[in-house]
Symmetry: C2
Subunit: 354 residues, 2 copies
């Protein structure tokens, strides 16, 4: 493996000193980039792009060609695990992801196969090693997975949902069935992320997109506890280096203290949380990643720069901040505005570090 | 006006002693009730139902016939104000509310007429006085409005939105235009709620459905500050009695301290906030309304009862709690489960009061 030339991202995750605040964007390889849309058109549908290691590598690297980003993130989908479990993932235009089969009973849970990620999700591992090799040590590569609760919502509902009616009915009415499902998923996610680490991922992020739909006690019991179990089972050092773990619960701003105790190195913040208040709450237990409103990228570059300055100032001096959006970049953003965002972090953040 | 026979709700809002915790449900007059669907079918479309005082009264009273509720809430829509401003509200099946015209520029804002709610929204005031009279003092009547920010999102987007792209673009790129719109809306909402109070509403609630989509500073500047202005302009005593005001920001759990300083008597909580933690944070400044997950109503009655017991215990002893769902009841709920919820509050809450 080539030597890592830019380790600002990994250092900030471990709260080690850096020269400036590192920056990357959730969903940075995505539809807002015309070159992404061109590669996607070559691949055919979305899952064909995920399953083709060369094309997945191509789109992963595209934003790095445009912007001075400090990390690359594996291009993949959060629903690869349930797909590998045989639920039949497909995408309907404008409808988001769907599954052909749902999981709504103890028998359904029992019927889910145990996965061996290196075999059953070999296309992901091929993508990871291809990207890692193509990066040549330029920046670190982030691997990722959906959280057990987030995966479970799609598996029970059979797709996206507004109010998670079926997932919550199962959770409230038959909690032991939901726990059985989450337990299987926690094992699968642990194995999946460890396989990504062995294939070349240098940090991993757990995306808990729907944990914020839960009441406080249910978040702890049905989402956070399983993420904690995953963190406990992850490879934490590889190739002689710590492999940092980031937990991101969208709309999880009320639970930062509990999240900070889960054993992860960093927490992702969405834009609704004030990062100064968040830093005061978590202290030196974890680094913080975030948290500009992705919709700020619809504003002119000068306004975007102002907001970057504001968030840097709110976090304040010292390491432990990884700049990011509070959620994924949206498809209609002008790539020039994404550039203005990243440039602003690069130019304005040095003054907060020694 | 008939004497009020059940003032438990009004007393709890003012943190005066009560014999048990009062209870009502957001959207309690709604599609989950077969008798509602029958009246709605008579009226034709949704807005025709809102505009017919007798039928609006009929559906408002329906849940009171089934359940021992402690308050009635005016049956109406949150978008009556922009409709009266001439934007042309209509509903498309499965699509939610839409406007024929949008508001996206200083000229659009300038063209919006000032309203006189008693004239321009006379159908709402007729509904309020009809319901108040039909209630005959059985329980108090709640009036309501959408918050300025929430109304503005629909007016700028032209309907519902996932990421509020246009509303946020306007807010970030042309804040003075957004402030102009919000200022007009704050005046209109103040006049609208005062007209409802004069027509017979005995408490009012401001629904800030989309305030939780904002970053912390933007929530204060673009949503909370306008709700505060409304609260400052409301009639606070009428017919010799205090008219309590409830602020409800969905996903606003991170900002309870600021909300508690806005001058309202009570805060509505969605289900993501732990009510014990919320009570500790707001102290004796405001009462708290909430906060069971509406999806709990898909669970069996015994499980619903357990959750009611849990929330009562989390709030603890004493007045200042109005039991409610954390958001509106959903259309697919079995009315028997709604009944189990309300019965549980009635039966289990007395032990927390002297």
């Amino acid at each position: 493996m080539s030597e890592l030339k830019n380790d600002r991202f990994l250092k900030a995750l471990l709260r080690e000193p850096v020269d400036r605040t590192p920056v990357w964007m959730m969903r940075q390889a995505g539809r807002y980039l015309p070159e992404y849309r061109a590669t996607r058109a070559k691949a055919g549908d979305f899952m064909s792009l995920c399953k083709n290691a060369e094309l997945a590598c191509e789109v992963t690297l595209q934003p790095l060609e445009r912007y001075p980003l400090d990390a690359a993130i594996l291009f993949s989908d959060i629903l690869t695990i349930p797909d590998a479990m045989g639920l039949g993932l497909y995408f309907e235009t404008g409808e988001g992801p769907r599954f052909k089969r749902t999981v709504r009973s103890a028998a359904d849970v029992a019927a889910l196969p145990s996965l061996n990620a290196e075999v059953d999700l070999d296309y992901v591992m091929r993508a990871v090693s291809t990207i890692r090799s193509a990066l040549g040590g330029r920046v670190p590569l982030i691997g990722f997975s959906g959280s057990p609760w987030t995966l479970a919502t799609y598996m029970v509902e059979g797709g996206s949902s507004k109010d998670f009616r079926e997932a919550k009915r199962l959770m409230y009415a038959e909690p032991e069935v939901m726990h059985g499902l989450l337990s299987k998923l926690a094992d699968a996610v642990t194995d999946y992320l460890n396989a990504q680490i062995r294939a070349g991922a240098q940090a991993v992020q757990i995306f808990d997109t729907w944990g914020g739909s839960l009441s406080s006690w249910a978040y702890e019991a049905f989402s956070l506890s399983y993420m904690k179990r995953i963190v406990d089972g992850l490879i934490r050092e590889y190739e002689g280096r710590r492999v940092p773990v980031i937990l991101f619960t969208k709309n999880g701003g009320q639970w930062l203290e509990q999240m900070a105790d889960a054993g992860a190195d960093a927490l992702g913040l969405d834009w609704t949380t004030d990062i100064r208040a968040a830093r005061a709450r978590v202290g030196d237990r974890v680094a913080l990643q975030g948290n500009m409103d992705p919709s700020m990228l619809y504003a002119p570059p000068a306004r975007i720069r102002e907001e970057v300055a504001y968030i840097l100032e709110r976090f304040g001096r010292g390491t432990g901040h990884i700049f990011n959006l509070g959620h994924g970049i949206t498809p209609d953003v002008d790539p020039a505005n994404a550039g203005a965002f990243i440039e602003a972090v690069v130019e304005l953040s040095g003054q907060y570090h020694d």
